[in-house]
Symmetry: none
């Protein structure tokens, strides 16, 4: 029997409350020899320490050994969707990051304005990094004239500097397509092609993009320096079984940044709008406690500090998180998991493949008798090292949401 089918078969609803707290990029490395420590180890975390007394710990491989995930695959795995099975294109992630609400089948492309020379070759792939306001004006020009191509709706949304997003919403469309970005200057804009030459839907979509180019380029012809644009990561939003179908839980996403709300919405969670600080996010959780079974709460600043290579800022972000935790614990959920979507080590200044530590507490988690929640402590936990996509199944088990398998 297929494992997902088994989970579905054994599922029972218990009314339990489950909370997933994601400190983005939480995991880190002790990089300076035997006496060094990680930001999580260096941080003063009395509330996490207290939780540790009644928690199991472990480490999670975000996708597969050695694979560094982007935010998309990292979060899909945390939501229990195998990122190798459910691929989300970059165009989709970019659109979600701009706060666009996508529908199943939407084809999205990351776009940026560029400069074309008299021979229509790309002379600057970023059009001199035009100001965001200029980008907004140009997008408005395109949006006004290009609301649709045939039956297909076109949605254009500006991002920062030269970046924008194009969404094609219609029937029978499919990605992924090749990029129109030639990837270096001096070459013409490339024709967009199906990645699967046998796919009639991809062919149709490639033709649509060609028509979009034909209609859009004349509108920019006299603009300087942004008289052209390049498309990358052209992909459709895949059909994904919803969180509620899959897990039997109504889920709320309490995130501040659009991308994380978008990723949660992709699997059918409700986006909770409003909160700007972690304290506000926890307060919204308290308010919504009765309305949902599962809460995904996302905290960005650990990742930001890791990306900046700023050890002190990451330590501080963890301490700020710990200080806010008592607000959430006013209504302690039946099952609480605290982890990252991946590691963002200070020494790497970016996402990495290192398994992120995870803490799981419930009436049935047992205690691993560790003093603190840290990377090295988690190495000794009863959860071992496991794939992130199973976290939600362990959370459900701790919520007693599975019947016994067999007699």
């Amino acid at each position: 029997m297929n494992l997902d089918a088994l989970y579905s078969k054994l599922l029972v609803k218990t009314g339990a409350k489950l909370v997933l707290l994601v400190l983005d990029g939480l995991g880190d490395l002790a990089s300076n020899g035997a006496n060094s420590c990680t930001p999580l180890e260096a941080a003063v975390t009395p509330n996490l320490d207290w939780l540790t007394q009644t928690s199991a710990q472990g480490r999670m491989v975000p996708v597969a050994p050695g694979i560094t995930p982007g935010s998309g695959p990292g979060h899909l795995a945390l939501f229990g969707y195998d990122p190798l099975e459910f691929e989300v294109g970059r165009g989709v992630i970019e659109a979600l990051g701009l706060g666009l609400e996508l529908k199943s089948g939407d084809v999205c492309a990351r776009a940026n304005f560029c400069t074309l020379d008299a021979q229509r070759r790309v002379s600057d792939r970023r059009a001199g990094r035009i100001a965001t306001e200029v980008c907004e004006d140009l997008c408005a020009v395109l949006s006004k004239k290009l609301k649709a191509i045939g039956d297909t709706q076109v949605i254009i949304k500006p991002g920062k500097e030269h970046r924008f997003v194009v969404i094609f919403r219609g029937k029978g469309l499919e990605g992924p397509l090749t990029d129109s970005d030639p990837n270096r200057e001096g070459l013409p804009v490339a024709a967009v092609k199906p990645t699967d030459p046998k796919s009639a839907r991809q062919k149709k979509t490639a033709k649509l993009v060609e028509e979009f180019y034909a209609a859009a380029l004349p509108l920019l012809a006299k603009k300087k320096p942004a008289n052209g644009f390049l498309l990358r990561g052209i992909a459709h939003q895949p059909a994904i079984p919803t969180f509620e179908e899959r897990y039997g839980m109504r889920a709320a996403a309490v995130a501040v940044y659009p991308m994380y709300k978008g990723l949660a919405q992709l699997v059918g969670m409700d986006k909770v709008e409003g909160p700007q600080t972690l304290a506000q996010q926890f307060e919204r959780y308290l308010e919504l406690y009765e309305e949902y079974d599962y809460f995904f709460i996302h905290y960005k600043y650990t990742d930001k500090a890791g990306e900046d290579g700023n050890f002190e800022a990451k330590r501080k972000a963890i301490e700020d998180f710990d200080a806010a935790l008592p607000i959430l614990l006013q209504k302690k959920p039946d099952v609480l998991a605290i982890t990252g979507d991946h590691s963002t080590p200070v020494a790497i200044k970016g996402h990495s493949w290192h398994p992120q530590p995870v803490l799981l507490t419930s009436a049935y988690s047992g205690s691993d008798k560790l003093d603190r929640f840290t990377e090295t402590g988690a190495n000794m936990g009863s959860l071992g090292v496991f794939e992130a996509k199973y976290l939600i199944r362990l959370m459900q088990a701790n919520a007693r949401m599975f019947d016994k398998f067999g007699a």
Copy 2:
């Protein structure tokens, strides 16, 4: 290459003796914070402590993350059969529990006597929980008149109170079928149907069950209160490659309870009859040492105590086990593994999904330098956290039963 095929290809016979000691439901939780402990941690176990000096430890996921196994899947995994691939129906497990010897293809059903009202609706699903002697008498009535239906042999065996088992032994039969139990009172007995509408064998089996009902109900018509019966978990014994085919070892099952003997017999182990105590089981092992390569020795009382939520009884059961261990160690096998088929935490009073601790000792196990065999110790062992179905492969490797893979 398929992994099972690789194991088979590399297999060499060495004449080594392997012993699997199963303390049913061994794993547990430290449920009361940092200072609490598990029954295994609380128990005084000088013999296990001594073994630990030359052992590797780890923890085993019984089936998959978050899945709580019944005894069937739990033991199949220990015997190296993936429980998701080899599913054993509840009727089969029930029949094994009553000590029935099954043949491949036998269709088994859990049955219980019920009361039908004048409109032939189920008015009591358990016929007032009739005494076991009454059940035995009724089964004798049915058995006497219903030895076969057409070419198919019918075997009826009473259990406790209102429970019994029906086995259909013939050609071309197959389960699983739907239950005839309507699951609540006031409804008629349900017609039994194929779960796969395309299966001709299931159709044939469903028709057979219908004929069985037609022949059996008149025999009970005047009985009170048990004038009907319900069938559940109707499934056939799957064809399973035998233990000897798969591992190249003659295997003996030294268990006291029928279900565990039955599960071992299901994969082709020889049942050893006689022993009633663990000391007697170990003595039988000593006697049979030359006759078999692999011994499965099953100890029930750790699970019983866990099911009762009795910490002290579980601790005591572990100490009793430890006290008997020197009998087995009179002939120390080449490879000895000590573990559970799953955890049965006192706090849960039932089976659970928590990985059970495992100890493995051989001339090649190495020592993990742990003082004791416990859950928290096992978290730090060299075996890590792994799926239970691989234990037998590790045991075989420790018996030097695998050639090198590749050059």
